[in-house]
C-alpha cells in the first residue's frame, strides 16, 4: 500500500535568527512535509494545491490576501504565542481557514517575566548590576535604595490565564492584588489569590504601587493606558507591560516618565519592536526594556511547537482543533 503523504506545511525559513529552530524542524519533519517560502515561490504551481497548513513562527510568513488566494486547500494557520493581533482574522476566516495559537505554552514563562520585570524595576537590578561592575565604582553607597515589593499593591489589568498566574506568584510576596477584567472571575479563583475586583480601572490605577498590563491587543485595548490613566496612577507607581506595545500610548508614557507622573516603567513589549534607536523611551533613566522575551525559554518554545503541530494534524484530519481561535 502506498504510504500516505505527510501534510504539506508552509513555513518562512529554517534556522537563523528568525527561522524555525533546527531541532524543532527535525521533530516536525516526522509528521509534516515542510515547505519554506523560498521553495514555495520557486515552485508555486507544484506546491500551491498541496499546502494544507501555514506555520506562523515569530510572525512569519505574513498571511495576506495574496497568500490565501494561492493556497486553495489551506485548512489552518497555526501561530506561535498567544497574541494574534498581527493576523487578519476576519480575512483568514473568510477563506474558511481555521486559526490556532498557543496560549498555554506561553503562560508560565510570560507570568514569570512579568514578576521578573516588577522585581528588577523595584529593586534596581539593571542599574545595580552596572554600578557593581562599573570601572568607576569605588564604594557601594548605603543610601541607594529601591522599592519594597513584599506587601505592596499590584494591580493586574487583564486577568486571563497569564494574568492569573501573575496573581498566584505575587500572592507569595504577600502583595495586595487588585484586578480589572472584562468579566469578573469567579469567587473561588478570586479567593485563591486574594484578588479584589475593580470594576472601574480608575480605582485600580489610583491604589496600585505596581500596575501590570496583561490584556490581548484588540481595538478596545489599543492605547488603553494613555495620559489620563497615567495621571490616575500614584507618582510612586511602576507600570509593567508584558502584553503588546500598542496597549500603551507611548508618547503619553514618555511624558509621564519625564515629568515624574509615575516613577518608572518596565516593558517587555513596545511598538514597534525594536523601537527606533532615537526613540525617546530609550533615553529615559527610569525605564527597563527587554526584547519581547516573555516566552523565550527552550521549554516554552518546544511546547509551542508541539501545540502547533497538534493543531495542524487535528485540522487536517477534520478533528476539533485544540487552541482554536474563534472570531
Amino acid at each position: 500500500m502506498e504510504e500516505k503523504e505527510l501534510p504539506y506545511t508552509l513555513i518562512n525559513v529554517i534556522g537563523g535568527p528568525d527561522g524555525v529552530y533546527e531541532d524543532h524542524t527535525a521533530y516536525l519533519e516526522k509528521h509534516l512535509k515542510l515547505i519554506t517560502m523560498n521553495e514555495f515561490l520557486k515552485h508555486k504551481q507544484v506546491f500551491s494545491p498541496k499546502i494544507q497548513a501555514v506555520y506562523v513562527w515569530y510572525y512569519k510568513p505574513v498571511v495576506n490576501k495574496e497568500l490565501l488566494q494561492s493556497l486553495p486547500n489551506l485548512k489552518v494557520v497555526v501561530n506561535s504565542g498567544a497574541g494574534v493581533d498581527h493576523l487578519d482574522l476576519k480575512l483568514i476566516f473568510s477563506f474558511g481557514v481555521k486559526v490556532a495559537n498557543t496560549p498555554f505554552a506561553v503562560s508560565s514563562p510570560t507570568a514569570d517575566l512579568g514578576i521578573a520585570l516588577m522585581l528588577a524595576s523595584a529593586r534596581n537590578i539593571v542599574e545595580g548590576h552596572r554600578i557593581a561592575v562599573s570601572p568607576d565604582t569605588k564604594l557601594f553607597n548605603a543610601a541607594w535604595l529601591g522599592e519594597e515589593v513584599t506587601g505592596a499593591t499590584l494591580g493586574i489589568i487583564g486577568m486571563g490565564t497569564i494574568g492569573y498566574k501573575v496573581a498566584q506568584r505575587a500572592k507569595a510576596f504577600d502583595m495586595k492584588i487588585l484586578y480589572h477584567n472584562r468579566n469578573r472571575r469567579n469567587r473561588v479563583d478570586e479567593e485563591a489569590v486574594g484578588a479584589v475586583y475593580c470594576p472601574k480601572m480608575e480605582d485600580l490605577l489610583r491604589q496600585s504601587d505596581f500596575v501590570m498590563l496583561v490584556v490581548n491587543l484588540t481595538p478596545q485595548t489599543c492605547k488603553l493606558i494613555g495620559e489620563k490613566e497615567l495621571g490616575f496612577m500614584k507618582p510612586t507607581a511602576t507600570l509593567i507591560n508584558i502584553c503588546r506595545g500598542q496597549v500603551i500610548d507611548q508618547d503619553a508614557l514618555v511624558k509621564a516618565l519625564q515629568n515624574g507622573i509615575i516613577k518608572a516603567a518596565a516593558l517587555d513589549v513596545t511598538y514597534p519592536e525594536p523601537l527606533p534607536r532615537d526613540h525617546a523611551l530609550l533615553q529615559l533613566k527610569n525605564i527597563i526594556i527587554t526584547p519581547h522575551i516573555g516566552s523565550a525559554t527552550a521549554q516554552a518554545r518546544h511546547l509551542m511547537m508541539r501545540n502547533m503541530l497538534e493543531a495542524i494534524l487535528a485540522a487536517i484530519n477534520g478533528l476539533p482543533v485544540p487552541n482554536e481561535v474563534h472570531a
Binding site: V126, F140, A143, P274, I289, P291
Partner: protein, 339 residues
Amino acid sequence: MFRAKTFYLAQSAELPAAWVTLANRSGCRWANSCIPFIQKSFRTGPKCRERTAPSPCRDKIMGEKEPPGALVYDIGGAFGVPESHVEFLKKHFDLITMKEFHKNKEQLCEKIRSIFVFELRPVVDCELLESLPRLKVVGNSGVGVDHLDLKLISSYGVKITNTPHAVSDSTADIGMALMLASARRLVEGCCIATSPDTTHFAADWLGVEVTGATLGIIGMGSIGYKVAKRAKAFDMNILYHNRNRRKEEEEAIGAIYCKNMQDLLQQSDFVMLVVNLTPETHKLIGKRELELMKPTATLINISRGAVVDQDALAKALQKSVIRAAALDVTDPEPLPRRA
C-alpha cells in the same frame, strides 16, 4: 526596610541597656531580678520589644532626664544614618557622630551608652571599646554580624543586637529577583533592547525556565524560608539543606530536606545560598561543590561573599562547569576593578 531596622535597633538598644545600668547602679531588687530575663531576651529586636518592663518602675529608677548617647558613624551622605531616620532616633538618643566624638572624647565618652552600626560603620575595634567605658550595647543594622568581633565586644560586657526580621522579606525578594533576572537574561536583554546597534530581535535568543524547575536552598532560616514560600508559587520543586531539619516548614511548603548537601547540588537547577557566615560556612561552595552542580545550573548568593570560593567560581563560570551565577554579595565589596 531601613525604617523598620531603625525602629528595632532603637527598641533593643535603649530599654535593656537602660535597665542593666540602672539595676546595677541602684541595686533595685526588682530591676536586679529582671537582668537575667533581659539578657536572655536580648538577641533580636522584636523579642526585646515584647518584653518591655513597666514604665512607672523604670521612670522611678531612672531619674535621668537626658537621653542616652548613641555613637553613629555619620549622619546623611553615602555611609551615614539616613537623614530621614534622625528625627525618630533623636526622640530616644542623643546622636553623636564619630567626628564629634573624636573632637571631644573626654566629655562624650561618658555619654555614649550604645553604638549604632549602620552598614558596617563605625568599625567596633579594641580602641573604640576602650574609649567608651559606659558602653552597654552595639546595635547592628541587618542580620549578618560577621564583621563584628563578637568575642571581643562581649569581653567588655557589651551586648550585641541585630535586625534579622527587618531584612528578611526584602532579602528574599532580592533572591527571587536575581534568580529570575539570571534565568531570563534580563540585564543582557535590556542591553540588547536599548543598544544603538540593535536592528531587530532574534527569535532564537532564549533563557531558562523558572516555573517547574528545582530550587535548592542552602540555609533555611527566616530568609531561606521566605524564599521557599515565594518559589513555591512558581511551582518550583524545593530542596533544602540546613543545620537542622525544619519539619513543620517542610510540610507547609512541600520542601524536601537534603541531609547531604551533595544531593541538593546534583539535583538543583538553581542553588541559592542563604546561610550566616561562620567559620563552618566559609568557602562552603568551592571547586568540588561547583562540579557537583548541573552544567545547566545557576548559583545565587544573597548571604555573604565569603561563603563562596570566588576563584573557584570564576574558573567554573569560565569553563561552563555551571551555567551562570547571580551575586548580591562578594568578598570584598565592591570587588577590585581588575581580576
